[in-house]
Symmetry: C2
Subunit: 216 residues, 2 copies
């Protein structure tokens, strides 16, 4: 399959297509028209056709899309046919919550260990995944071919740990620490800044409440 | 202060400005030039000036920005001078992790209760915040002036609960459930789809690994 250069806007929409197609697969839906998919997803059918045409266009006139085929092709584009070995650094509630997401493994993300400094946590297991002393992290990363680290550390600790991880060969960081990491540009960083997401919500809510008041 | 209609791209950048200014405040920095701020944030100084000019432009030629003033003004724009009463629906690891974020309260987000169906969780407290039976939720929402609900429910349960919450007067939903909620358009919804964030990372990581291979 020939793949053209794809815009980042399209890329950002792919996981959502993947989620909807996965839901359809679970319901044993074999095929779907772009019109039906567009109604479900609340986007236009032409947007869907355009987006999917980037990957050769999996649809057929009068048939629509084969759900399973499209699901797997999008999965491939998203890099989900690979297996990624992950560690979670910071085994507090959030780290534990992430370790509990069995759905990550279904998509090829294997959490190999958690790490923490807290002696009360070290030695415990989450779904069979051990929490280890952060002092053992260097050895572990090097011996277990870890590509991806999830950071759920306080903002003061995150930068140093991120730098160490890069030194030890980590390729990507999924960062939940409320700080922007200063790592080399070839390291993939995806930030989840929860407080900022809540502030975006608060902005919109505040605007709505102001408008509601004006109407009265 | 006169506020112009602000683009959503600017809004999305505001929480990040707010975070950097908060960090500067903590370090007792009184003023900062747009050039210094731009170096810290990795954006251009002209972007910063343009963004902040939307709000009347708080900078002064030759002086820069007063950190505390700008911090508070952006806070106001983000609706952070208000207090919001929140409940968390779903008191598993993620719900508990969110209840543990003391930083939410500092910004005016008060978590009043968690709710769950699990009898082993009901009656427990996180930082003094009680986990209640989900059957008590309607009464609680109505009696405690709850504006905002955080959903950390499995995707099968989220749609019904979201509809109930809207019926009971909830104005905004911070949704961590892996599903798009179908609520009236005047309800504010902010989604945090963790698996989709991880897939975006996986796409970029996969592209990088492919390129690394080609180079060899």
């Amino acid at each position: 399959m020939e793949i053209k250069k794809i815009s980042s806007a399209v890329i950002k929409r792919l996981p959502r297509y993947y989620r909807y197609l996965g839901d359809l697969l679970e319901k044993d839906v074999v095929r779907i028209s772009s019109r039906e998919l567009s109604e479900k997803m609340g986007v236009t059918a032409s947007q869907i056709r355009q987006d999917l045409n980037n990957f050769g266009g999996f649809g057929q006139q009068g048939y629509g899309y084969n759900v399973e085929h499209l699901y797997h092709e999008i999965g491939k584009i998203l890099g989900l046919e690979h297996k990624y070995n992950i560690i979670i650094v910071g085994a507090g509630n959030l780290g534990q919550a992430l370790a509990n997401y069995a759905s990550f493994e279904k998509r090829g993300f294997y959490i190999k260990s958690l790490f923490d400094v807290n002696p009360r946590l070290i030695g415990l297991s989450i779904r069979g995944i051990e929490i280890r002393d952060i002092d053992e992290m260097e050895k572990f990363v090097k011996e277990h071919d870890i590509q991806l680290a999830v950071l759920t550390l306080p903002k003061m600790k995150a930068p140093k740990i991120a730098n160490d991880l890069v030194k030890w060969g980590i390729q990507a960081i999924w960062n939940f620490s409320p700080i922007d990491l200063n790592v080399p540009s070839d390291i993939v960083v995806e930030n989840v800044h929860l407080l900022e997401s809540l502030m975006t919500l608060s902005y919109t809510l505040n605007e709505k409440l102001k408008k509601d008041k004006e109407k009265k």
